[in-house]
């Protein structure tokens, strides 16, 4: 069973890792943030799989922390002055 769960963790890593392509392509910061979001959830999934498969319950706390702070980056993304439309950096 442990092997299966480890393999599942590896697959989650590959799948969410593919999502990083969205981080590269964008086009908008919202899209890029989604890649981070997916990886956060995927990281949680990997951590729970590894914790159970490897019988390391301490690893569950990593998943717990990741889950708790899952929305944090997205909340931080929305900080800023309202209505400033042109947000690109350099032209």
């Amino acid at each position: 069973m442990a092997e299966f769960l480890f393999a599942a963790a590896a697959i989650v890593l590959v799948l969410t890792g593919l999502g990083l392509a969205r981080m590269l392509w964008g086009p908008s910061p919202a899209d890029r943030m989604m890649a981070a979001q997916l990886l956060g959830t995927g990281g949680g999934a990997i951590a729970v799989l590894v914790a159970i498969a490897g019988d390391m319950t301490a690893v569950l706390d990593i998943a717990l922390t990741l889950a708790l702070l899952a929305a944090f980056a997205a909340v931080a993304l929305t900080l800023g002055e309202p209505g400033s439309k042109r947000r690109g950096g350099e032209e």
């Binding site: 069973m1 299966f4 769960l5 599942a8 697959i11 989650v12 799948l15 969410t16 593919l18 999502g19 392509a21 969205r22 964008g26 086009p27 908008s28 910061p29 919202a30 899209d31 943030m33 989604m34 890649a35 979001q37 997916l38 959830t41 995927g42 949680g44 999934a45 729970v48 799989l49 914790a51 159970i52 019988d55 319950t57 569950l60 706390d61 998943a63 717990l64 889950a67 708790l68 702070l69 899952a70 929305a71 944090f72 980056a73 997205a74 909340v75 993304l77 929305t78 800023g80 309202p82 209505g83 439309k85 947000r87 690109g88």
Partner: protein
Amino acid sequence: MSLLLDLFTIVAVSGGLFFFLAGTVGLLRFPDTLTRLHALTKADNLGLGLIVLGLLPQCPDIVSALKLVAIWALVQLGGATASQLIAEFARRGGGER
């Protein structure tokens, strides 16, 4: 019994993996920000949910099981909020270049 539980775990975790796959494909293939967001959050909450569900029978103790459920609940809450906020952000044009 244990075999049955193991089977359940395998089925549920595989289901979870499928939803992760769906989420990733959606994130990569869907045409615009909002549909991608839709695909992402739906799939990825279900994916993690199924994995957690599948792992429950394998938990060594009750505390770990509770933690698993808590993790899932937190990701539900956080993921839902995050997608709302990202959508809001995208709609305001914050993301356009």
